[in-house]
Amino acid sequence: MPDLFVRRPRSGRSAAPPAAPAGGGRAIASGWRLLPALLRPRRRPLAAAAAWSLVEAVPALLSGLLVATALDRGFLAGRPGAGLAWLGLLGFTMLFRAAAMRMMFPCLAAVVEPLRDDLVRALVAATVTRAAGGAVPDPAAVTRLTEQVETVRNLVSALLRSARTLGTSLLAALGGLLILSPLVAAAVAVPVAAALAVFARLLPVLLARQRALILADEDLTARATPILGGLRDIAACGARAQAQAEVESAVAAQAAAIRALAWAGTSRRLVVTLGAHLPLMGLLIAARPLIQTGRLSPGEVVGAAAYLVTGLDPAMRMFVGVAGSWGVTLTVILDRLAETVTVPARTPPGPPAPALRDGAGCAVLPDAATSGRPLSGRPLSGYRLEAEGLSFAYASRAAPVVHGLDLTVAEGDHLAVVGPSGVGKSTLSMLLTGLQPPTGGRIRLGDLPLEAIPEHRLRTVMALVPQESYVFAGTLGENLAYLCPSDPRTAARRVWEAVDAVGARALVERLGGLDAAIEEPAALSAGERQLITLARAYASPARVVVLDEATCHLDPAAELRAETAFAAREGTLIVIAHRISSAGRARRVLVMDGAATLTGSHRELLARSPVYAELVGHWRDDGAADGPSPRRLTAGT
């Protein structure tokens, strides 16, 4: 029966994050631990599918018998009617087969679809959790992950469908041989065992080559993406030849990986020769002496040859094909997926993300208790933010971004942070909100060190609005109430207050109110998205709000309105300033200049800090052709 129903998986085209090291041997372990964890909850439909596939095998078992009977008792016996009747019986058994097939599909669906759902859940949870833990997310990996899950789905259903044929045909051939002649069966078992042993030795090579091919595919994508994204820059730099050479080397490596895999695959064919054809030759050579010594009858020779050719040969082919190609691909991909769903120790806040259930001993998400923060703690006494000897550097030999900063921000204070771009203002915002652990010094909120505050509590008390605003597909109301407590009535009131306060009412009305759906967030302008995220932060219960250049896409008047609203809001406001005008509005100003810092009021700093005076001066005296010496700003770094 032609197997057109199995949507044949395309050979290892999908891929995963390029970070993982290559290595064939290791690949088997984690990948194969994931599969049982995925299949275990599906034991019942698996068993049902197996049972139906046995029913499906009935006509194949009976066909030879029925055809022979139709000949002997019907057509050859001069009774064509009886012959037709026997053949009709064969046709009738086909009904069983078709019915069994019909019944088997829902079972397969009940195995494969939930398996895909679990994988998708685990992958999304792991990807978001890892990115929320501070790892740089790779958007291209997302696409590759979807492809991989799909490949696993196709391969598992293909394997389930062919496993029956695989098992029954190999067992039928060997079993039939054993019944026919134990001597021949014993003689055949030796080369078959040898062939299987050789195949087992070859598997690691196949796994390594398959893995190398997947890595080569990933490498090609990873190298081509920046080049195709930077065509303008390549043309402007006159680097066409260099870019072409880079893509070509990745293309050539991928082609070489395809060829290498094919060469390794030829060994599968040799296993068939060893396991099925060698016994046949042996049988034919030994047949004459065996018949002469009376150990074997001519009929047994014919029968044994038939089993070897029509039973063992296709079974061996199928075995090495399924195990050596689909099995290898599935193993390698499962391994890459297992790497992805295993999240490193630093994990996020909140309750454990949905992971693979019932995955004891398999690669699953560790629970949130490993994040290093307590799950409950002493209540906060006030919201005074205090940094002491705060330092941060990306690496031990890199110049520090923040060095020995002492800073106290009283509850309800309004602080602006100014300084040349690239001086580390954004890093400071991450340190103060506890999103980035410092390399030196410590930060306290109220009386508690940041790390002693439960993650959930800290995230509720602190709101950081970054420069790139996150507006997601959903209703406008969902977007605005993102940080609100869950009671919908108070949330709606808070949201409308916030919308009015930050000056977003016109925008909300233009979009069609809180229930308006935002289908495509990118269709909003950058300024509109910033207004939404500002209103969202305003409506939140946060007592410390950090605006990290969160108004950079607003015009000065809108920026003034939003900042004034936040200043009047209950709680502390820290503004990482994009325009120097933000500093003028603040009660206190922190000037960052390299690793040197200075705090004071606007007036004090104008007198005390030449850097600050210069920043203000440039803004104020923007058109002047002769500014003060530019080198002074970077002095000390």
């Binding site: 990115a131 680097a239 066409r240 293309v251 054809h277 996020p348």
Partner: protein
């Protein structure tokens, strides 16, 4: 991925080009393909011959007659099959690999030499998908085609054999086959519609994940990762629903096909059985009929391959959409000797039906700092692209020191014109390589010098690995990226440097520093600067004011400032002009 619906004639044209591309791929890999074809024919022949050879070998072994010639024949057949199959596997992989690689190399070369304006119409992800995925699909076509044609020939051979044995069996087969074809076509049509739904749900889920990853800083700061996970997974039930619908559709169709095909075999057997009863056929021939009927039905095996072929044709079409875009002709002359005077003569560029640059005549004096100002959409960036021939005008001519850019050798032109962009893409590996990208001979000292001039040297010093930090993962802000892009332009020491909004991400203090480099450090070089800020225009020797693709006015900043419309250009930035000072802030005057 849904294609935009192109107009029918154009679609027909690209389809024709797509098929031509596939044919050229097959021609390019003809040596390994010939091996594949020969191997397939040899192994099919061996499969057909095996029963006969085996039978006589067994006979020989049983009777002891003959000099084991049949056994030798069997060994030969088995060895031949093994060799043919191995050769087919290796040659097939080689054919696919070389066809894929050749179309990838071709597509890359084409993309790299296209007019920049053409490539910007497709998002990067689209282009990557064409280069990586579509090419792989198209590259597998030649081998698939060989497989399909030998499969169909074998199938036809089976039918012919049925007719030869007994025309009645052949006729019975032919009577049943159309029903099978109809069922299969119905099945394919039904499943492919559902498959689109499935992929749609998949796409929505992936889009939500991509969105969430883009806004991950907010998610992190809000501690809302688990809520995000739930939100991303919202389309999962829909995906699962489409998946189950696919299975149901398969269950509905497949059992009918699974019933019909064996019934055809049984009917053919019945016809043969009647033949045996009539004495027209031998009993052994009934088995042959069974074998050939199965062979005849093996065309069903090609359904998958035919479906894949339809998929491949659309992949080839998507590749051709890129390959059909015209490549601008490359000049051959060196740039004229000169100080870097740039001339636009009657230059018009039409984009999407409207003129984004419309009949511009402009002389940019050698060694000058010329600022181009105007509202967004006025044609400033197109003018900047024209200056170094990153795009070609539809009408008119751009000349550097009197020589049309079209006539100048592209590589030589890159030595004469350098660019810095608003959002530079850093390529080449680490930061040092990114600055000297395209200039292999530049040493580290020159790179550092350029970085210092762009005020980015100390920023790089704070990074984990300094200049060896990989550009792709370096934690850089927009302003820092712009300064690296500036350093990349400065290291070229070109006679003309074009800066397209290349300092917009800098705060005013840093911009003032960078302006100093533009003003003093680059004195003597021609600088064409697209700017939004009054500060930049104020320092320019010449200001060109663009509006709707035309030059509305040109002159000095001071001269133009009298025009309120000109002043309005800079009002939104909240910046002031010296003679028109505003208070810096409401609280401190």
């Amino acid at each position: 991925m849904p294609d935009p619906v192109p107009d029918p004639p154009r679609e027909r044209a690209t389809r024709k080009h797509g098929d031509r591309l596939l044919a050229s791929l097959a021609r390019g890999a003809r040596a390994p393909l010939a091996v594949v074809a020969a191997a397939t024919i040899a192994s099919s022949g061996a499969v057909l011959a095996l029963p006969a050879v085996l039978a006589s070998a067994v006979d020989e072994a049983l009777t002891g007659r003959g000099a084991r010639s049949a056994a030798v024949g069997l060994v030969l057949v088995l060895v031949l099959t093994a060799c043919a199959e191995i050769a087919g596997m290796v040659a097939g992989a080689a054919a696919t690999a070389s066809a894929t690689a050749s179309v990838r190399v071709r597509l890359t070369a084409h993309l790299l030499s296209l007019d920049i304006a053409e490539t910007r119409r497709s998002p990067t992800g689209e282009l990557v998908n064409r280069l990586v995925s579509n090419t792989a699909t198209a590259g597998s076509v030649p081998v698939t085609l060989v497989g399909i044609s030998t499969g169909l020939v074998t199938s036809a051979g089976g039918v012919v054999a049925l007719f030869v044995i007994d025309w009645r069996t052949g006729l019975t087969f032919v009577a049943g086959a159309p029903a099978a074809v109809v069922l299969i076509r119905l099945f394919v049509a039904r499943v492919s519609g559902l498959y689109d739904d499935y992929q749609g749900a998949q796409g929505r889920l992936a889009a939500r994940l991509t969105d969430a990853l883009a806004g991950i800083r907010t998610v992190r700061a809000s501690g809302s990762a688990d809520r995000e996970i739930a939100r991303i997974l919202a389309p999962l039930p829909e995906l699962s629903g489409s998946g189950h619908a696919l299975w149901r559709a398969q269950a509905r169709s497949v059992w009918k096909i699974a019933l019909l095909l064996p019934l055809i075999e049984v009917a053919v057997l019945a016809a043969a059985g009647l033949g045996v009863a009539d004495g027209r056929l031998e009993a052994g021939q009934l088995l042959a009929v069974a074998g050939y009927a199965a062979l005849g039905l093996s065309f069903v095996d090609q359904t998958d391959a035919l479906m894949a072929l339809a998929h491949s044709r659309s992949a080839a079409r998507r590749i051709c959409e890129v390959l059909c875009l015209p490549v601008p002709s490359a000049g051959t002359r060196p740039p004229a000797e000169g100080p870097g005077a740039l001339s636009f003569r009657g230059v018009t560029v039409v984009r999407e039906g409207t003129a984004s640059v419309d009949g511009v005549d402009l002389e940019v004096p050698a060694g000058s700092l010329t600022a181009v100002v105007g509202r967004s959409g006025a044609g400033k960036s197109t003018l900047a692209l024209l200056a170094g021939r990153l795009t070609d005008p539809d009408r008119g001519e751009v000349l550097l020191d009197g020589r049309p850019l079209r006539e100048i050798d592209p590589d030589a032109l890159r030595g004469a014109v350098a660019y810095a962009f608003e959002r530079p893409m850093l390529l080449g590996g680490d930061l040092a390589a990114a600055v000297s990208y395209g200039l292999p001979a530049v040493d580290r000292e020159a790179v550092r010098e350029a970085a210092r001039a762009a005020y980015v040297d100390d920023v790089i010093g704070r990074l984990p690995e300094g200049y060896d930090t990989p550009a792709a993962t370096a934690p850089l802000s927009g302003g820092e990226l712009q300064r690296l892009g500036l350093a990349r332009a400065l290291v070229r020491r070109a006679r003309l440097t074009v800066l397209d909004d290349a300092t917009s991400g800098l705060d005013t203090a840093t911009e003032a520093q960078v302006n100093r480099t533009l003003l003093e450090g680059m004195r003597g070089c021609t600088r064409l600067v697209v700017a939004h800020r009054a500060a930049t225009a104020a320092r320019a020797d010449l200001v060109v004011w663009m509006e709707d693709g035309r030059i509305r006015a040109r002159g000095t900043h001071r001269g133009l400032w009298r025009d309120p419309a000109y002043r309005a250009l800079f009002a939104s930035g909240g910046e002031a002009f010296p003679q028109d000072q505003e208070e810096p802030c409401p609280t401190c005057s």
